[in-house]
C-alpha cells in the first residue's frame, strides 16, 4: 500500500480516454444508423392540440417524425415506467406518451433523419400548437402550499420552548437555487436493431441493469432481448441514476424503423432533466450565553414535480454534528411544473449542511465567539437520534 502513496498512477482507461479510443454512448457507429433530434415543448403546462410535421417530412434525408400520435406501442401503467431509482410516490414521466405537457422543454416529437444536421434542421420545422394552462415554476410562490414528507429524524425535547427561553437566539433563512447537471458528456443513447426484435443499447447511465429493467417495462420486452452497455461515462454525479428520456426515444426509434437509431440531447436540453432541487432552508438555533446549544430547529422546503415526490434528507444533519437536547426537523416539498428533481452529489447534505453551517457562523457572530471555537464546543461524537458513534 505504502508503495502507491506519492507515486503517480495512471487510470486504467486513461490512455483510451485521452486518445479518443474510449467510446461513449453517442459514438457507437453501425451502418444504417438513424439520427434523432428532439423537439421540445415551448410551454410549461397544458396539452398539445396539433402537431404539423409535414414541412419536416418534406426535407430530404428525413425518415420519420415520431410523436405521441405516431409511435410504436408503449406500456400504459405507472409500474412499467418505475425505474429502480424512481421516487416511491408518484407517477413517472412517460416520454412521448400523450398530449399532456408537464414541463417546459418536454419532448413532444423526435425527428429521425439520415444525419444529425438534417434532423436538427427538420426539427426546427415541426409546428406544435398548445392549449396552455397556468403554470408555477417559482418555489417562493408555492412555499405556502408545500406539504410535509416523513423523514427518519424525530424531534427530541421541545425546540419551541427551548428557543423561547434561549439566552441567545439566531434565526435565518437560506435559499439554494436550482443546480442543473452539466457533465461534459451530453445524455445520449445509441440503440442497434439486432433482428428478431432484440436491442443492444449503448446508454449514458450509472446503472445498466436499471436501464435494462426499465426498457423491458416500457416496451414489454424480455430481459434476454435487451442488452444495455455503458463502457464509459463522461460524468454522472447522480444525473445518470435514473434512465433519462433519450434512451426511451432511441429505443422507440429503433423499434419504429427496425434499424439502429441514436438520440443525443443538446446542451440546452440538458436543462430538461433531473436537477438538484431549489431549496429554502430555515434554521433557528438557541444557545446559552456561554455557547452551549439548547435548541436546533431546521425546516427545508424543496422542489419536486407535479407528478413525483423526490426528496432527500436535508434536515437531520444537526443530530450528527452538534449537541443539543432539543431539536425539531421538518422536511417539506413544493410541487412545481418542472421535471422531477433528482440526486446530485451529496443530495440533501450539500444544501442542508450549507444552511446549518451558515447559521452556526452567524450564531458565533451573535455570541461574539470564534466560529471554530463554537464548533469545538458544540461538536457531537454521537448521532443523537440513533445513539450511535
Amino acid at each position: 500500500m505504502t508503495a502507491y502513496i506519492g507515486t503517480a498512477t495512471s487510470r486504467v482507461e486513461g490512455r483510451a480516454k485521452v486518445t479518443g479510443e474510449a467510446k461513449y454512448a453517442g459514438e457507437f457507429n453501425v451502418s444504417g444508423l438513424a439520427h434523432g433530434h428532439v423537439v421540445e415543448s415551448t410551454v410549461a403546462k397544458g396539452r398539445i392540440t396539433r402537431i404539423d410535421t409535414s414541412a419536416a417530412l418534406r426535407v430530404g434525408g428525413v425518415i420519420d417524425v415520431l410523436t405521441h400520435q405516431h409511435r410504436p406501442q408503449m406500456a400504459d401503467t405507472d409500474e412499467s415506467y418505475k425505474d429502480d431509482a424512481a421516487p416511491e410516490t408518484g407517477s413517472p414521466y412517460r416520454p412521448l406518451y400523450d398530449e399532456r405537457i408537464m414541463f417546459s422543454g418536454q419532448p413532444v416529437a423526435l425527428v429521425l433523419a439520415e444525419d444529425w444536421e438534417t434532423a436538427r434542421f427538420a426539427a426546427s420545422l415541426v409546428r406544435v400548437e398548445y392549449q396552455s394552462a397556468p403554470h408555477v415554476t417559482d418555489l417562493h410562490a408555492q412555499r405556502e402550499k408545500a406539504f410535509v414528507v416523513e423523514k427518519p429524524e424525530k424531534p427530541r425535547g421541545s425546540a419551541e420552548k427551548a428557543l423561547a427561553a434561549a439566552e441567545v437566539r439566531h434565526e435565518a433563512e437560506y435559499f439554494i437555487p436550482t443546480e442543473h447537471h452539466n457533465p461534459m458528456e451530453l445524455f445520449a443513447s445509441t440503440v442497434t436493431w439486432d433482428g428478431g426484435g432484440k436491442l443492444t443499447v449503448y446508454d449514458k447511465t450509472q446503472g445498466v441493469q436499471n436501464v435494462q429493467r426499465y426498457l423491458c417495462g416500457v416496451f414489454n420486452m424480455r430481459p434476454e432481448d435487451v442488452r444495455v452497455m455503458s463502457p464509459f461515462m463522461g460524468g454522472g454525479f447522480g444525473s445518470g441514476l435514473r434512465p433519462q428520456y433519450q434512451v426511451v426515444l432511441a429505443a422507440l426509434a429503433a423499434r419504429a424503423l427496425q434499424r439502429a437509431a441514436r438520440v443525443v440531447l443538446t446542451r440546452a436540453q440538458m436543462y430538461t432533466l433531473g436537477y438538484r432541487p431549489a431549496t429554502i432552508e430555515r434554521l433557528a438555533i438557541g444557545a446559552k450565553a456561554n455557547g452551549t446549544l439548547n435548541a436546533i430547529a431546521h425546516e427545508a422546503i424543496a422542489v419536486t414535480s407535479q407528478f413525483e415526490e423526490f426528496s432527500r434528507n436535508d434536515t437531520g444533519w444537526a443530530d450528527l454534528l452538534y449537541k443539543s437536547p432539543n431539536t425539531r426537523f421538518v422536511h417539506k416539498l413544493a410541487r412545481l411544473d418542472v421535471p422531477t428533481s433528482s440526486d446530485m452529489r451529496a443530495p440533501g447534505a450539500a444544501t442542508g449542511v450549507y444552511a446549518l453551517e451558515c447559521a452556526m457562523d452567524e450564531l458565533a457572530v451573535a455570541l461574539k465567539v470564534d466560529p471554530v471555537q463554537l464548533r469545538l464546543q458544540c461538536y457531537s461524537d454521537r448521532d443523537q437520534t440513533a445513539d450511535l458513534p
Binding site: 415551448t42 444536421e117 436538427r120 434542421f121 426546427s124
Partner: protein, 338 residues
C-alpha cells in the same frame, strides 16, 4: 440552422454589390456572433458574403496624428499593436477585458461594433422579442432582466449593447468609416449605435447596403490618466453588468478634460456630456467623481432584477475615475480591483 449560400467578396465594391443584390444576405468576417445566432435560429441569412479576405487589416497613422484601424483587424492584433498599447491603452485594456483569447483572435474590429445584444429573450426564439421579431413584444421588461439596461430604455426594448471595445471607442470619440452604394462617409461613434425607441430591431445607423471599412481614432489617446473597469458575475469570459471607461487630462491639480463612457447599462455605449462637463475645472476627488456619477445616472431606471446596477454603476464610476486620476489603470490580467 438553415441551409445558406456562401460567397466570397473580391473587394469592397464587390461586397456592396453582392449585399445589395440579396436583401437577406449577411456579411461574415470572424463569425463569432453570427454563427451562434444562426445555430440558435435567431438569424437565418440566405447567403453569407465572406469579407474576411478583403484588404482591411492594417493599422496606420493618419496625417492628423490619429490612427486608422482596418475593419478586419482582429481584436487581439488590435489590443497588442504597439501604437494602440502606447497611445490608446484605454482601448487595449477594454478589448482585453472582453471574451476569451480565442474569440479575440477571430473577432474583427467592424464585427465587434455590429455584435447583437445578449438579452436572454433575443436568443430564446419561442419568446416574444421586438428586436428579433418587431411588434412581438418585450419579454425582458417583465421577465428575468438582471442583465438589462437602466438608461435610454423604451417600452419596446431594454436590451444592452454587449461590447467592451465600443465603450472605449465611445470615450475616445472614434469615427466609423463606412462605404455604400452612394459612396463613403464617416459616422461619429456616438451616432453609430442607436437607442431602441420603437425600432429596437435596428442596432446601428449603418444603412442596409453599407460596409464598415475602418475605425479612426483621433490624436488624443488619453494615455496617461485612463482606466477601464468591468464588473461582471465572474472574472473572465462574461459580459459586463456595468463597465466604465474613464479618461482624464489635468492642468496641475485641476481636471482639464474628461471622458466617461459606460457599458452594460444601455442599448449603446453610454456617454453623458453633462457629466463630463461637470468634472472639468474640478479637483480629482471623491466629491467631484460622485457628483459626476449622480449626474450621469440621474435618469437611470431599474427593473425587477437590475435596480442594483444603478448603485453599482455609481460606485464603479467613482472607482474608475479614481484609478484614472491616480494613473493606476485597472489591470485586465491581475483582476483585483484597487
Amino acid at each position: 440552422m438553415i441551409n445558406f449560400q456562401y460567397a466570397r467578396a473580391s473587394d469592397v465594391t464587390d461586397a456592396i454589390r453582392q449585399i445589395a443584390a440579396d436583401p437577406s444576405a449577411k456579411f461574415i468576417a470572424g463569425g463569432t456572433n453570427l454563427i451562434d445566432l444562426m445555430k440558435d435560429d435567431v438569424e437565418h441569412p440566405s447567403r453569407l458574403i465572406d469579407i474576411s479576405r478583403l484588404p482591411l487589416k492594417t493599422i496606420e497613422e493618419t496625417s492628423g496624428g490619429g490612427v486608422l484601424i482596418g475593419a478586419l483587424v482582429p481584436n487581439s492584433d488590435l489590443a497588442y499593436h504597439p501604437l494602440i498599447e502606447q497611445r490608446y491603452p484605454l482601448l487595449a485594456s477594454a478589448i482585453l477585458s472582453g471574451a476569451s483569447q480565442q474569440l479575440r483572435n477571430m473577432a474583427s474590429t467592424g464585427g465587434n461594433l455590429l455584435q447583437r445584444t445578449r438579452c436572454f429573450y433575443f436568443y430564446d426564439t419561442v419568446t416574444p422579442c421586438n428586436k428579433r421579431q418587431p411588434g412581438s413584444g418585450c419579454s425582458a421588461i417583465n421577465g428575468v432582466n438582471r442583465i438589462n439596461a437602466i438608461l435610454g430604455t423604451s417600452e419596446a426594448c431594454i436590451a444592452t449593447h454587449p461590447s467592451d471595445m465600443c465603450v472605449a471607442l465611445a470615450a475616445l470619440e472614434a469615427k466609423v468609416h463606412v462605404t455604400g452604394p452612394a459612396g463613403s462617409r464617416g459616422i461619429a461613434f456616438s451616432d453609430f449605435h442607436r437607442l431602441p425607441g420603437d425600432t429596437p430591431e435596428r442596432d446601428t445607423n449603418l444603412d442596409a447596403h453599407e460596409i464598415i471599412t475602418g475605425v479612426e481614432l483621433p490624436a488624443n489617446g488619453f494615455s496617461t490618466n485612463y482606466s477601464y473597469l468591468k464588473i461582471r458575475d465572474r472574472l473572465s469570459y462574461a459580459f459586463a453588468l456595468v463597465s466604465v471607461a474613464a479618461a482624464l487630462e489635468f492642468d496641475g491639480d485641476t481636471i482639464k478634460d474628461a471622458r466617461l463612457a459606460l457599458g452594460g447599462v444601455a442599448h449603446k455605449p453610454w456617454r453623458d456630456k453633462a457629466a463630463e462637463a461637470a468634472l472639468i475645472g474640478q479637483r480629482a476627488d471623491q466629491t467631484a467623481f460622485s457628483d459626476a456619477a449622480s449626474l450621469l445616472l440621474r435618469e437611470a431606471r431599474g427593473y425587477a432584477h437590475n435596480a442594483f446596477k444603478i448603485g453599482l454603476a455609481h460606485r464603479a464610476i467613482v472607482r474608475t475615475l479614481g484609478q484614472a486620476a491616480r494613473a493606476t489603470p485597472q489591470s485586465q490580467s491581475i483582476k483585483k480591483i484597487r
